[in-house]
């Protein structure tokens, strides 16, 4: 684990902290689609992403979903953190977008390190800031963009975290993430294809205009 740690977090944390993480953290590897956290869960540990990507979703009372953003390597989930501290329930759902490797840190340490290591403190604050920025971006998309623009942005973001200009996804699953219907997505995808921005195939979309 120490190798992965140094590779992804070595530039952030001093050796003493890296060693502490190595001692108390547990390595975890999950497949695509694995649900790391659900709405209402109580959280006992915080994840540091080593590789892969995790998508963060919001859900309403009726069970309708909405994709908020992706978390990638070198990042953490700041929500976890504040949930841990206040013993609160998770407000969001986290699902592995790709096969993902993480290091789980027990809650107690997290707060202890806040005072002990300046670098940890900065990391946590930076993480909060990044997450807020991404929430704001999500708000921009929903509030200011039309569905076709949101869709194209979604495709590009997804291609980004998958590091591939071809993404494997069904129209139905896109509809879930964007909180709309399959028919609407099919219609808009076809229109994007006609404009030469993508190429459609069963379970596969190639993005041309990245």
């Amino acid at each position: 684990m120490i190798t992965e740690l140094k590779e992804n977090y070595g530039y952030l944390f001093e050796d003493a902290l890296l060693n502490e993480i190595n001692n108390v953290g547990t390595f975890k590897e999950v497949p695509e689609g694995y649900m790391l956290m659900d709405i209402g869960d109580y959280i006992k540990s915080m994840p540091l992403l080593v590789s892969g990507a995790v998508k963060i979703l919001r859900e309403d009372d009726k069970g309708d979903e909405l994709l908020l953003y992706f978390i990638e390597r070198g990042d953490t989930c700041a929500m976890t953190l504040s949930c841990c501290m206040g013993q609160k329930k998770s407000e969001i759902r986290a699902v592995a977008e790709t096969p993902t490797k993480l290091i789980m840190i027990p809650v107690e340490k997290m707060s202890e390190w806040m005072s002990k290591y300046k670098s940890w403190q900065n990391f946590i604050l930076q993480s909060y800031h990044d997450r807020m920025t991404e929430l704001l971006e999500a708000i921009d998309s929903i509030a200011f963009l039309k569905m076709d623009e949101r869709l194209f942005k979604y495709l590009k973001d997804k291609a980004m975290v998958n590091r591939n200009d071809e993404i494997q996804v069904t129209h139905q699953n896109i509809a879930f993430d964007l909180h709309t219907s399959r028919v609407v997505i099919s219609r808009l995808l076809k229109s994007l294809e006609n404009k030469g921005k993508i190429i459609l195939n069963r379970n596969n979309i190639k993005i041309l205009d990245l």
Copy 2:
């Protein structure tokens, strides 16, 4: 200033910290409508709200606005904080919703106190968590509610921060906050009035179903 400080933050901070705040903070009183911060501003100090309320807005490229949430007494703006630390620009606009009193803390102190006072650390983390929760609530409203539900929620929130079941506002200004058009708001307000939920008058809306 020390009186207001103790009244609003005494239960949170130890005396030593209250004294430090008293020494370095500057008291500020602004009228309704005063813009405390704009998008793109560099921030040099962080506000602690003593009384009143501040509304936080997002804006897109075309200048269209959207209300995110209100900040009230006993609260701070966590965005400010992360902006300060990273020397980044503000992502949001802050406008006094009512006459407002605040204490401004210079950036340097903020980060110094993070290590020095556990209570300050908790306050900051709590504030981040609260702000994220409110952003999520904003997302819920935009993504999952219809315009008439959003409107009624808006009216209730506004009544809350104004501590009054009658709010003074024009249909046009509501339209700005909810990022829609005046005609749509007038139409929906009239429908809410017909349902017996509000009473409409020029520049004034009384909320019955609080």
